[in-house]
């Protein structure tokens, strides 16, 4: 099923009056440290049918400002300014009046569909409730309408699924149900707060499509809040970039993406790894956003800005545009940028130097030694039923025969949707297993025949960095102890450990005196650096990176990715980089393996896989990734996959991708039969590029 995305911005008629206007909104929360000024003067307006994107990193006040519109902030918050809905000021209305507006005139879609639905009521009940609050509908009529709504948002078999409970829905389906609820009463405005952040890219593409459709059905204005500049590029008409509780740049998508004028926007755009090019290092924005408790005078971005002048530290610039340009920027040097003879936006940030390739990397790949070889690895879990007498009713084929190879100085990216078996693969490698099928060899040693002591010694060479730097560091241990732990375990002497810790901290760009502090004193990016230092403590050969940057903001993420590249070159490391973000993988990996339902469906050199993806799944996956480039986004054709990832307990016969495969639907009968009968194996398409598809053919999708 190939669909073309509808053209965004069906020219919002400038004549129509804005449906939602926010003017000079301020929100402050009391806290023990003092007043937190979460939002400090936000103004925007949206017209019917228009999509406004609000972009910003965590803590920029973007979610708080939308909660203020709905009147759903905690009672302790104090809100100033004006919020006008269809000309009527709704700020300061009581719960009774606001309840009439919420759900009827403003619909809301939240970030995490897993927790946003009440677990004890069926999906139908919850939609019926949303309908009956605002409309005088009988139970039967409301139920009928609920089924219609589920059909609109693309829930298959809505007559039956209407009685399902939230836990019986996948994440994507729950988000569809949320959208159904948001549009139930034909709202004038839909506020979507990171509606696709928790979803896989293929599901994200589906949900964005549904959201667009919902807008077409209702004609509502959409306020889309996100941290993902790619999602907005093709979806929004206008963009507002927020920093430290204030808008710092607003304009049409084209203005903001192609001629950004605020250094923060420029930095943000430069720090995202992009799917459509892999050249050059990422440009991180140094430092972290300021504390919102006591902001110093002047521009809040001044401390991180590469073009700060003295005047920036004196007064905070307000959002202004020169005469005749509708593209206001909160920067006193904003319009020096891009002016003839003035500053060049692309050059204001210092470009970090690419690390020189290490000795191993300079060798041709064939001459390098293999660090990790995985051959036909299988991990099946029995599916049991019964409380007292358990019997086996099926098999979960989490990993169903995969082979990988990582050579010295190489990064292999392992990508796939959640549930495809990435994590099981990684845990199996870390576990150095003895049972089930397949072999894992580390540095040429087959792990099946290892003795206990050798096994422990081998663990030194394979270390791991986990996704969540908040959860993977023990909050009760000072950083020095965290770093010393692996060293003590492997019997290092006290003196050697004491010498190693400052060395490690400097290696990852932290200060030696940070060793006495506790993890919670560090920001997310710094914590991930500590995790990396811990992984490097024992001088491993192979580091397994499990979504190392997915919990970080983009401007921070760039710094961590650069650090990883740098360390790889300096220390001659090899990485197994597990991620769902394909842009990040494109930027970091030398080779990439795409996983689907326990199998690798396409593997090869990164540029080959990304430029000539040959498996229909890889093609769909790549086409689903939004690009931070409005023109390209509008011209792109998305390959939308139908449905969700099948359960690994119920793998289809023949090719396991065929029931979602866009290609399969177009094949003639003889070819289709081959897909049904024969399980395709990886076969070579070019040097170091193979795909597991009977009918593999390259297709450019980026």
């Amino acid at each position: 099923m190939i669909e073309t995305r509808p053209e965004p911005g069906r020219a919002p008629a400038a004549a129509t009056a804005p449906v939602l206007e926010v003017e000079d909104l301020h929100v402050t929360f009391p806290s023990e440290a003092g007043e937190v000024q979460a939002v400090r003067g936000v103004s925007y307006s949206v017209r019917p049918g228009e999509v406004l994107g609000i972009v910003g990193e965590s803590g920029s006040g973007k979610s708080v400002s939308s909660m203020a519109v709905l009147g759903l902030l905690p009672e302790s918050a104090s809100v100033r300014g004006a919020i006008r809905l269809g000309g009527r000021d709704i700020l300061g209305l009581g719960d009774r009046e606001m309840s009439r507006i919420r759900g009827r005139e403003i619909g809301m879609v939240f970030q995490d569909p897993l927790s946003a639905l009440t677990p004890v009521y069926s999906i139908g009940t919850q939609i019926v409730e949303a309908l009956q609050i605002h409309q005088d509908l009988s139970k039967e009529a409301a139920r009928k309408r609920a089924i219609e709504l589920l059909d609109v948002v693309g829930i298959p078999d809505p007559n039956r699924r209407v009685d399902a409970f939230p836990h019986e829905f996948s994440g994507g389906m729950r988000q569809r149900a949320m959208i159904a609820m948001a549009i139930a009463n034909d709202p004038k405005v839909i506020i979507a707060d990171e509606p696709t952040t928790a979803l896989d890219v293929t599901i994200q593409a589906q949900v964005l499509d549904v959201l667009k459709k919902a807008q077409d059905v209702t004609g509502a204005a959409i306020v889309m809040i996100t941290h993902d500049l790619g999602v907005i590029a093709g979806f929004a008409d206008r963009v507002m970039v927020m920093y430290a509780g204030k808008p710092v740049e607003t304009g049409t998508v084209d203005q903001v993406y192609y001629t950004p004028r605020m250094p923060y926007t420029i930095g943000l755009l430069g720090s995202i790894p992009r799917l459509d090019n892999d050249g050059g290092p990422l440009i991180p924005i140094e430092g972290t956003p300021p504390s919102m408790v006591e902001l110093p005078p002047g521009c809040p971005f001044a401390a991180r800005c590469p073009i700060t002048i003295d005047r920036c530290l004196e007064v905070e610039p307000s959002l202004v545009a020169p005469e005749g340009v509708d593209h206001p920027v909160a920067c006193i040097r904003g319009y020096e940028l891009g002016r003839e003879g003035g500053l060049v936006p692309e050059e204001i940030y210092p470009v970090p130097e690419l690390p020189e390739a290490g000795p191993q990397e300079r060798l041709p790949r064939a001459e390098r030694a293999a660090v990790l070889e995985v051959d036909d690895l299988v991990k099946h879990f029995p599916l049991m039923k019964g409380a007292v007498f358990k019997r086996r009713v099926g098999t979960v084929r989490a990993v169903d025969g995969i082979s990988l190879e990582i050579r010295e100085g190489e990064t292999l990216g392992l990508v796939g949707e959640s549930g495809c078996g990435k994590t099981t693969t990684l845990l199996e490698i870390l576990d150095l297993p003895t049972g089930q099928g397949g072999t894992i060899s580390v540095l040429g040693k087959d792990t099946r025949h290892l003795k206990r002591a050798d096994r422990k010694a081998l663990r030194r060479d394979v270390q791991v960095v986990f996704q969540d730097p908040m959860a993977s560091l023990d909050a009760r241990m000072p950083v020095g102890d965290i770093l010393a732990e692996p060293l003590e375990t492997h019997g290092w002497s006290k003196d050697r450990i004491a010498a190693r810790i400052p060395e490690l901290l400097e290696l990852v760009g932290l200060k030696p005196d940070h060793a006495d502090r506790y993890p919670q004193e560090f920001s997310g990016g710094q914590r991930q650096r500590i995790s990396i230092a811990r992984a490097l403590a024992l001088e491993p050969k192979l580091v397994i990176l499990d979504e190392p940057v997915s919990a970080l903001d983009v401007s921070i993420q760039a710094g961590v990715l650069n650090l990883l590249n740098d360390l790889k070159a300096r220390l001659g490391l090899s990485y197994l980089f597990v991620a769902h973000d394909l842009s990040v993988v494109r930027h970091t990996a030398d080779r990439v393996a795409v996983m689907y339902l326990g199998r690798i469906v396409e593997v090869g050199e990164t540029h080959k896989v990304f430029e000539a993806p040959s498996h229909p799944y890889t093609q769909a996956l790549l086409s689903a990734v939004p690009l931070p480039d409005p023109h390209k986004e509008r011209e792109r054709r998305r390959i939308l996959l139908t449905g969700d990832l099948p359960s690994p307990a119920d793998v289809p016969s023949g090719c396991r991708f065929r029931n979602r495969c866009p290609k399969f639907a177009q094949l003639d009968e003889a070819k289709a039969q081959q897909c049904r009968d024969e399980d395709p194996m990886l076969h070579s398409l070019a040097a170091d590029h193979s795909a597991a598809c009977h009918h593999a053919a390259a297709l450019q999708v980026v």
Partner: protein, 326 residues
């Protein structure tokens, strides 16, 4: 669901049988019914004592397994045996269950509902006056053994009656045997219920409200509550319909077990206010070396655990679709 419950019932039945048999052995081996007769004045002749004990299936000279055999065979036919005084344990049992139910039905209902309400409201008003007051009050009650509470209430009633000049508040027994007429007797029974009910309600409310407050606090910040309000539900409706409905789930098993087991465990309250219910029976029958009565109470307790278990499974499944087995 039905099959699941049947299987659970079978499991529980095994437990009931094992528990009540073990309790019989414990009672039969450790209690000495003979001493009751030996301390009588005038002391009956040896032969008479032995004969009576034999007749009651209480004779320590009969091997314990034989006595157990008799007892088990009787119980299987619904006969719980004879007590040390020769009366039917079945009669005692029926009377005492009735007393316990009359004492506890109202107080457990009030205690559970009150506890849930107090806890939920305290969570909503976290750190406000109501919350601080109920928290302090709960810990004050929880810090006191129940007999201290019961006796303090009794003392207060005595003083109150003294001040009033007549017995306004009753604190002994279940009803006044001198009162005649349906309405007058009902009033008298009600009056006698006030103090023991108050004692039990206080303790239960204090306990349950602490659990309920915690589970409610977890739910208050939840996304689905925000969704419910974004749909247009008023704050209070959302809090009750979506919040409390979910927050009550984790404490359902606790509530059901505590409430049901109270029917054999309100010993102090029954003793102090002189109600002749199940709790009092257990203590009294141990004191009087009444093996068969002890065995009957144990059997009843085991059955009550079974009921509590089944009930909590059923209620939980009814409230939470996530645990329903398809």
């Amino acid at each position: 669901m039905g099959r699941f419950l049947l299987r659970r019932l079978a499991n529980y039945m095994v437990l009931v049988i094992v528990a009540s048999c073990l309790a019989y052995f414990l009672a039969a081996l450790s209690l000495n019914p003979r001493s009751n007769f030996e301390s009588k004045n005038p002391r009956p002749p040896e032969a008479v004592i032995s004969k009576t004990l034999q007749e009651y299936n209480l004779d320590p000279h009969t091997p314990v397994f034989e006595r157990f055999g008799h007892w088990a065979a009787d119980v299987a036919t619904g006969n719980l045996g004879k007590n040390v005084k020769g009366g039917s344990v079945n009669d005692d049992f029926g009377r005492r269950v009735g007393v316990s139910v009359r004492l506890l039905l109202i107080s457990t209902l009030l205690g559970s509902l009150g506890g849930v309400f107090l806890g939920a409201w305290g969570a909503i008003r976290q750190y406000r006056f109501f919350d601080r007051f109920t928290t302090l009050g709960s810990f004050f009650v929880l810090a006191m053994p129940i007999f201290v509470i019961a006796i303090s209430l009794e003392l207060l009633a005595v003083n109150f009656n003294h001040a009033a000049g007549s017995t306004v508040l009753q604190y002994t027994g279940e009803y006044d045997p001198d009162v005649n007429g349906f309405w007058a007797q009902l009033l008298s029974r009600f009056n006698h219920l006030i103090l023991p009910t108050l004692t039990l309600v206080l303790v239960q409310m204090a306990t349950y409200s602490r659990y309920q407050r915690n589970t409610m606090l977890d739910v208050l910040g939840s996304d689905f509550l925000r969704t419910a309000r974004a749909k247009g539900l008023r704050r209070r409706t959302a809090l009750i319909k979506h919040g409390l409905r979910t927050a009550v789930l984790p404490i359902v098993p606790l509530l059901v077990y505590n409430v049901v087991l109270l029917f054999t465990g309100a010993t102090f309250t029954e003793k102090i206010f002189n109600w002749h219910g199940m709790g009092e029976w257990l203590v009294d029958s141990i004191n009087t070396n009444d093996t068969n009565s002890v065995a009957a109470v144990s059997l009843f307790t085991a059955v009550v655990v079974l009921v509590a278990g089944l009930l909590s499974d059923v209620i939980y499944a009814a409230l939470d679709p996530r645990v329903r087995v398809s």
